[in-house]
């Protein structure tokens, strides 16, 4: 692989895409949302069990590319136990990271998710990386299932 391609498909991303964590529908979910990328047909459903303002449990389902699956998988690990405000802040930072906006990114806060920095070199793939996050935001804002949120 070329170095840019290697930056995009880092080992941890490939590993999560092949064996995504929290890849399940949560029966206890009290918040959920469906995300959709009309450009590629990728779908992502997020299920959250909120306890007050805290994400107690989270799961996801759907179909998508390696980038979108790995992003969703690692996102669920990262936001579990976080408050709504913390999760929204992380999305802002993640968005900054994948769009190459260093000011917003503050990669140190993103921990393992900093591996998605390589996406910024592939503008056509930013929406793959952010689909789960858009869906998360929609789920946090809604208590019932809403109209699918779109990346467009």
């Amino acid at each position: 692989m070329t170095s840019e391609l290697g930056d995009l498909y880092q080992e941890v991303i490939l590993e999560h895409s092949k064996a995504p964590r929290n890849f399940r529908r949560l029966t206890s979910a009290n918040h959920e949302a469906e995300g959709y990328n009309p450009l590629c047909g990728d779908r992502c459903s997020i299920y959250i069990d909120m306890e007050g303002d805290k994400i107690n449990e989270i799961g996801f389902q759907g179909s998508g590319c390696a980038i979108s699956r790995a992003s969703a998988s690692m996102m669920t690990q990262m936001v579990k136990g976080k408050t709504k405000a913390e999760a929204v802040k992380l999305f802002e930072q993640f968005h900054g990271l994948v769009t190459g906006n260093d000011e917003a990114a503050k990669a140190e806060d993103l921990g393992k998710m900093a591996v998605f920095g390589g996406v910024s070199k592939f503008p056509a793939r930013v929406k793959c990386a952010t689909l789960a996050w858009h869906t998360l935001q929609s789920a946090l804002e809604a208590d019932k299932k809403q109209e699918p949120v779109s990346t467009e």
Binding site: M1, L5, Y9, L14, C40, D42, R43, G64, C65, A66
Partner: protein, 418 residues
Amino acid sequence: MSTAIHRTGLGLSAQDVEQIKRDFPILDQKIHGHKLVYLDSAATSQKPRAVIDALVRYYEHDNANIHRGVHTLSVRATEAHDEARETVRRFIQAADANEIIFVRSATEAINLVAETYGRVNVGEGDEVLITAMEHHSNIVPWQMLCDEKRAHLRVAPINDAGELDLDAFEKLISPRTRIVAVTHVSNALGTVNPIRKIVQLAHAHDVPVLVDGAQAVPHLPVDVQALGCDFYVFSGHKVYGPTGIGVLYGKEEILAEMPPYQGGGDMISSVTFEKTTYNVVPYKFEAGTPDIAGAIGLGAALEYISKIGMDRIAVHEHDLLVYATEKVSAVPGVRLIGTAGERAGVVSFVMEGVHPHDLGTILDREGVAIRTGHHCAQPVMDRFGIAATARASFAVYNTRQDVDALVEGMRKAHEVFA
């Protein structure tokens, strides 16, 4: 045209294609350090020097508005525009140049028919019959019409190979069917539909047929009179012409009865505040200053490929398709989507463990451009239980080496993800 084709036998020799490649300036470049291999012509084809030159020549020498000035430039522009219409007529073997209406795209042509012919002829409880392999552009305009008129959209099914079920299609033609709209060649599957048979079946019930030829005209010789269809539509940019220009062919007697599409200049004979008399076809459907340069560019494109010969292009591309089908199928984990007996232009597939987007990104780094996604044909994706496919599509400038580059990139992707 700079290309001197060796007129020996059918198809194109390797030298022929190398010469043709040189007619397309854009192909002479590197992408990420690799020679560009363009396999996305079904999305849009590249443009030969002849088309680019025609556009430059028009803007540098002849640019003026048409049908209105007495000055020399206006006369030249009008003549060039008329010539382009005649070139289109000849290319699809229409009976009369008045049956050729310039629009923006195949999409606009379908919308025009839905909004004029459709609005007059489709009423409450009537039916519009399409197929399960249509592009969104041959679904949504009919859905909008049916919603407005409380009519019903009927969809003829396809089999697992991606072929139209003709028996089911025939059974779906009812006394309420007002129009059949069907693609000539599927953009997602490559299936070539038996248009002549479809037209016979529909006409036996006095139902007119619109054919979406966007993916057919670049690949097959098209004769609208032999097909017998009532409308035929295509886009210029998929057949080596510029974007922003498309064609609606309609039988003159049907066009004459249809109400206008948009109102404005050029589509009228006379206007007072009390009454407007509409112009004759084709001008009745061409309100406003048209894309003059686009029409001239399209004419240049059709002349370019006519000189090579559509028969020979069809043979060349069929050879590529057979070669690509064999090579792509041999890559581990590949499943072809669309295995119809009659196919043209595209090889669509999914790869186990490699999402089409990831494949598209990896191929791009190898200089190979393909399309990934649902190809504006989501019902087709649903039919095959997938969200997306990878699609390699072919044009006159592609070679077996291009297919080899694709397959090599696919093997690399397999290594990364397997």
